[in-house]
Symmetry: C2
Subunit: 405 residues, 2 copies
């Protein structure tokens, strides 16, 4: 048995990175960027007014006070979208709209609400009764993004924020890593497909569906192969199909007797086993192998084992294939509400429920930690990783990992 | 100006719930369940062996010790998927595979690894040297899920875990709420579409794309209308189109002068304004209106304002339309690494970066909090909600909301 850390490392090392393709921004959500995105523009591209107001040469307001306000003549108006590089004379100002380009020699903008306008000899003036410091209500050129800067690194997953940023930079086509095709096979004489009538002694195939949903979530293209009975000649047919995809995930059939059948057929088909037991609970009988560039996982039949092992191991392979860095979980900490102890012979992923009360995070283990109890995934929102022999007491602070679903 | 809480309440009250439709499980990821899902089965559906081993009548092992082991005769084998209700006699046992149905009168399973097999007079026996308590290595019928129990409540979002659970229950078709169609319009003379050449004074339309991505994420069908110049006759055409969708989101055009044009054209098209200013930063000039069952939002032009206001307000409407409960953010707490103070006249959403060091979560404000700085969304992972006038000191514990992207 190897540790989860060793297992992750082996998966990372043995999994190839897939090729690249150019796609439209519209198709890029949940893809991974295959090039550093360097900004070709400054954002803002010019000194931009953050308010509707009047553009000011700060120097003009140096001695302005309530008692001795300064008058500036209003000589025009700048709307957003106007491109000219205006220069104004001392003692003058222009009305400027939010988002518009500030005149070259103005350093601040006074809000329209803070201003008294007056008319004298047919000319319009504004009255200013305080010093306007440089930068007030102006977003300076390049303040957010500088031309030539790397804004998004190669290997970044395109979530809503990254997607917005790509548009923000004006980019309509990008290079992304190809999506892996993922073959999904359930095995077991007792497994029935959803929608079918079930007999006593049989159970529904939820594993194919967990793997289907998680594959989609992490950016693969799932292909459900179906359910194979535990017979070598049937398995062989499915395994030949599965090996046509970049990634092949088999669930079930990893208890002692069945395991041998699946592994035998895989070996006969040229798959080399890299590891076949991991010191974790749930998920001990997980195996990992490869044939040329094709990657194969065998996940235990229990639904929680399949879910957790996908999340901690298969995900590593998908991340590698799609050019990402090794996945890291979002972590947070809180106060444990019950003693927990790992009395087993393997490290354990304990499903936890975290809640905020007053200012504190409280974390409680889900009442059942059995591998067959899928509701432990449904109702939990965090994982406490407890090493073999580790013990944590009620009231202690523990760090947990957010359970993304 | 109304508070964000009042604004949320108004959005929730005024937004209708959409209809339902029946779909295949395969199309159900990221949809919302429109009926309580009651289990028609027990899971496990029978007392199930959790190991490869031998099924035991606990009583038979009552006096078993190392010195005086008990011999049980092996009379057969049960594979997973076999449906018969076996009863065995005292003094006998059967080999049983993981996942298989335990004989009616057996109460525990001893692991195959823990057993010595012997042959005597041509018969096979196992030797047991300890008492096997009831329940050991057995998952009892209904332990995970009981027949007749509500497993997934109406209004539940179908994430990977819920999706797996639906399959687990054997359900292949479910009722879900319809997805809202969401029209997206950017306004502004200075706004250019991605991929186009940009002139000085102009900026790219990132808002349509933020709204597009977030709409998809939260379960709407985005329809990009494009960019309208700030002219009533053009706006009118776009607004008529936008009002054909369930939800219509307009970004930009909400600074003082432009705001009036957009609102005027909306009113002429029969839209009733419910609110038009919210006491939050960023996002003050947000407006919300409706026409019959159609919902309209106007979001400020700045990219951060659009992003945050979608996340805190538009999301409420999408949740209501799709039959969910009012959205709640995932919260956690940590130690503040810098003083923060809200000196403004509105409550503020401060973009924060949270990190784990040793056992503690440390939270720092992103260096720029301007509404124009989209990188503050890209690089942050949490939001600190700071009330008007509120001050938090370095070293204090603060509760923040996870920034989903």
């Amino acid at each position: 048995m190897i540790s989860i850390e060793e297992a992750k490392k082996l998966v990372w090392e043995h999994t190839p990175v897939l090729g690249k393709e150019k796609i439209s921004i519209f198709d890029s959500i949940a893809r991974v960027i295959a090039e550093n995105i360097v900004s070709e523009i400054n954002v803002p591209p010019f000194n931009r007014s953050a308010m509707d107001g009047f553009a000011i040469i700060s120097e003009d307001t140096k001695y302005a006070t309530k008692e001795k306000p300064v008058l500036l003549e209003v000589i025009g108006e700048i709307k957003a979208g106007e491109t000219k590089n205006l220069v104004i004379e001392n003692g003058k100002t222009v009305l400027i709209m939010t988002g518009a380009k500030v005149p070259v020699n103005c350093e601040s903008v006074i809000k329209i609400e803070d201003i008294e306008e007056i008319v004298k000899n047919g000319k319009k003036y504004i009255k200013i009764n305080r010093y306007m410091p440089k930068g007030e209500n102006i977003s300076t050129k390049g303040e957010d993004i500088k031309e030539g800067e790397i804004i998004i690194k190669k290997g970044t997953f395109i979530d809503s924020a990254v997607f917005s940023m790509i548009a923000y930079l004006g980019i309509d086509e990008i290079n992304v890593y190809k999506k892996p095709t993922v073959a999904i096979l359930s095995t077991g004489d007792e497994i029935k497909n959803v929608g079918e009538k079930i007999n006593e002694g049989e159970i529904y195939d939820s594993n194919s569906y967990s793997i289907y949903a998680l594959t989609k979530k992490y950016g693969g293209i799932p292909k459900l192969l179906g359910i194979s009975k535990d017979r070598p000649e049937l398995l062989d047919r499915f395994i030949k199909k599965g090996l046509q995809c970049d990634l092949f995930i088999i669930s079930g059939g990893v208890s002692e007797g069945k395991y041998d059948i699946v592994v035998d057929v895989l070996k006969k088909n040229g798959v080399k086993l890299i590891f076949h037991k991991v010191a974790i609970k749930p998920g001990k009988p997980t195996f990992f192998g490869k044939k040329n560039k094709k990657i194969v996982f065998g996940l235990p039949g229990y639904p929680v084992s399949t879910y957790i092992n996908f999340d901690y191991l298969v995900k590593v392979a998908i991340y590698k294939m799609t050019g990402r860095t090794i996945p890291e979980k979002f972590k947070f900490s809180g106060i444990l509400e019950k003693d927990v102890e790992n009395k087993g012979d393997r490290d354990e992923f304990i499903r936890m429920i975290s809640k905020i009360r007053d200012n504190d995070v409280y974390i409680t283990p889900y009442h059942s930690q059995k591998s067959g109890v899928l509701s432990s995934i449904l109702y939990s929102n965090a994982i406490l990783y407890l090493k073999k022999g580790e013990k944590r007491k009620k009231g202690e602070k523990v760090v947990v990992e957010y359970l993304e679903k």
